[in-house]
């Protein structure tokens, strides 16, 4: 409760002083267990803010949409997305006040390594449980026969209705025109055949490689329950193992896919050594 109180006080102060035009946080949603993004412009409305299990939507996304001076109430993953957006020159760090707070989620992110904000202008610490994601689930998946793995992925992506909720909620997906919408050339068919869906999901996973912070928003947003995390987490695992990078932890290092080392592994080449 005290974290929420502090959030309200800080939000109120920022609005009253005129430091920001809007505070982006969460309010109670209309369905059980779901909170909804909330834009506070009037200091009195801070009373509607909540900070509880269900506040899981990644709010970094909204900073790209808003041109006002904004404060955002951010947990670990939101701040990591903000870090990446600043690095990619999508967001001016000076324009945003980050009210950082420990993640209140108790359910949705079992595998989160960073519930606390990595950058913040104010940090409101709460109780969190730091997990250690060892990607063991991916390792057991890898041990399945290849056909079984392929069929699983086919089965999952074939549920996709191509509503692009996964893309639109993702702070890393900010392209003005996504490859699925380009038509000169048209890269991908507009059907929901498994083949078109495969191309969409594989490409999206690779396009956010090194920038995906594993917030899980795409998984929660998917109306059809497609297992998107398996692709994203596989890439997160590889980025960590091959390039020794966890995305969005600091403002100083380059994004892993914009960077290289002379001795980066080349196991993927013909005759290259296997990756373990």
């Amino acid at each position: 409760m005290s974290v929420l109180n502090d959030i309200k006080l800080k939000a109120k102060e920022l609005l009253e002083k005129g430091d920001v035009d809007v505070v982006i946080g969460y309010a109670k949603g209309t369905l059980n267990g779901k909170c909804t993004p909330y834009f506070v412009r009037n200091a009195n409305d801070v009373e509607n803010l909540v900070w509880e299990n269900g506040c899981d939507i990644n709010l970094a996304n909204y900073l790209l949409k808003i041109s006002d001076k904004a404060a955002v109430i951010a947990k670990g993953c939101d701040t990591r997305s903000i870090v990446n957006l600043v690095k990619e020159n999508q967001l001016d760090r000076e324009r945003v006040v980050i009210i950082g707070a420990s993640c209140p989620s108790t359910e949705s992110c079992q595998k989160c390594n960073h519930p606390d904000p990595v950058i913040a202008d104010v940090f409101l610490q709460g109780e969190t449980k730091v997990n250690n994601d060892d990607f063991s689930d991916l390792e057991s998946f890898s041990k399945l026969p290849s056909e079984e793995r392929r069929n699983y992925i086919y089965k999952e992506v074939s549920k996709c209705i191509r509503c692009y909720a996964c893309r639109n909620v993702c702070p890393a997906c900010y392209c003005k025109e996504c490859f699925v919408e380009e038509n000169l050339p048209a890269w991908i068919g507009k059907t929901t055949n498994t083949s078109d869906n495969m191309i969409f999901h594989l490409t999206r996973a690779i396009h956010v490689a090194g920038r995906c912070v594993g917030c899980g928003e795409c998984v929660r947003a998917c109306p059809m329950g497609v297992d998107l995390s398996i692709l994203n987490r596989k890439i997160m695992k590889d980025v960590k193992e091959l390039f020794n990078v966890e995305s969005g932890l600091d403002l100083d290092t380059k994004l892993p896919l914009n960077d290289y080392k002379e001795d980066d592994p080349q196991y993927f080449l013909i005759g290259g050594e296997k990756c373990e």
Binding site: G29, T30, L31, N32, K34, C35, T36, P37, Y38, F39, I57, N61, Y62, K65, K159, I161, R162, C163, Y164, A165, R167, N168, V169, E177, E181, A186, G189, K190, T191, T192, N193, E217, R220, A221, P223, M224, G225
Partner: protein, 337 residues
């Protein structure tokens, strides 16, 4: 038309008979929700589902479908063919009344006075709609009438463990011909009527007059603030019917669902976009459902199935949108301030 009362066993037998000459589709539980799939013919489809994950428009206007097939032949004129128009007879059993009524709304579009979509029409004319009334409303539902008969050929209400079968159309009657079921007696009919009368109050969706005055109202900007412009609400909406047509480069002209929530929907080749931001696009969706569509076809393009409420990734609840529109100041009052 007639009303019958049936035991579960009788209903099962009737359905099994229908299945001999028609493909019977019923809600089947899959990993992540219910979907209309071919009925196994063994036991009466259960009634423990709220609704199917995808709306039934999928069965008439599939997410993607081939409109034309073509073949390019070097040195010759290309061949263009119309694919086989679906002819198989179908029964959709257990569709919810809200969804059944959505089909009537779609008919306005695909079976209009000037043009008829042959693929949609074929499926519509080959399909018998047998709807099953919900026992209660779900937490995201806001249909006006749980017992709505619109769009159904036959409506089934569960009363005291038996089934009250209301025949609503000639097609429904034909499907019931020769069944020696008991006509429902007055007692049962009264009991069903009583159920109907105990319906709780629901959201009043009539905001037509209000919408007439608030096109330029700042409320749209406020309403869309949390919207991420994905296509969940439109794709899962039983009445949304926008589509795209593309050539797949491999001999097919394909129609696929599209959404007014996408920036690309109205963006012209020149780069000009008449609805450039989320504000215009959300306004279009709401205005279309509750103002433009009623103006043209005299009916609201929302049946209250609640799928958009349930699945919106940011909990942008259309019921709240309607409430906020109802409560907002119209242009006259705004300018008076």
């Amino acid at each position: 038309m007639s009303k019958y009362i049936m035991f579960g066993e009788e209903l099962l037998q009737w359905l099994q008979n229908l299945a001999k000459e028609s493909k019977v589709l019923a809600p089947v539980k899959e990993e992540y929700g219910y979907t209309f799939a071919e009925w196994d013919k063994k036991s009466l489809p259960g009634d423990d589902y709220r609704n199917t994950l995808k709306p039934p428009k999928d069965l008439f206007f599939p997410q993607h479908e081939t409109l034309l097939k073509y073949e390019k032949i070097k040195g010759e004129n290309p061949l263009v063919e119309v694919p086989d128009i679906p002819e198989d007879k179908r029964v959709i059993f257990g569709i919810r009344p809200c969804d059944a009524s959505s089909l009537v709304l779609l008919d306005n579009i695909f079976m209009g006075e000037d043009y008829v979509d042959p693929y949609y029409e074929a499926r519509r004319s080959n399909t018998l709609i047998v709807s099953l009334v919900c026992r209660t409303r779900g937490k995201s539902c806001f249909c006006e009438d749980l017992f709505s008969t619109k769009g159904s050929d036959i409506l089934i209400i569960k009363v005291d463990g038996n089934y009250l079968v209301e025949i609503l159309t000639y097609r429904g009657e034909a499907a019931f011909k020769g069944i020696g079921s008991k006509e429902a007696d007055e007692k049962i009919v009264k009991k069903a009527d009583k159920l109907k009368r105990t319906q709780e109050e629901v959201l009043d969706k009539d905001i037509f007059e209000k919408l007439r005055t608030i096109y330029d109202n700042p409320i749209w900007k406020q309403l869309q603030e949390k919207c991420v412009n994905c296509g969940v609400c439109t794709f899962l909406c039983p009445t949304c019917h926008c589509f795209d047509i593309t050539d797949d480069k491999r001999g097919k002209k394909v129609r696929s669902w599209d959404s007014c929530m996408f920036a690309s929907f109205t963006k012209q080749a020149s780069g000009h976009n008449p609805r450039p931001t989320g504000t215009e696009r959300l306004r279009q969706r709401i205005m279309h459902k509750f103002y433009y569509f009623p103006e043209k076809y005299h009916d609201i393009a929302c049946v209250g199935c609640g799928r958009c409420v349930e699945k919106c990734p940011v909990n942008l609840d259309i019921r709240q949108v309607i409430e906020k529109i109802r409560g907002c100041l119209d242009e006259k009052s705004l300018s008076a301030i």
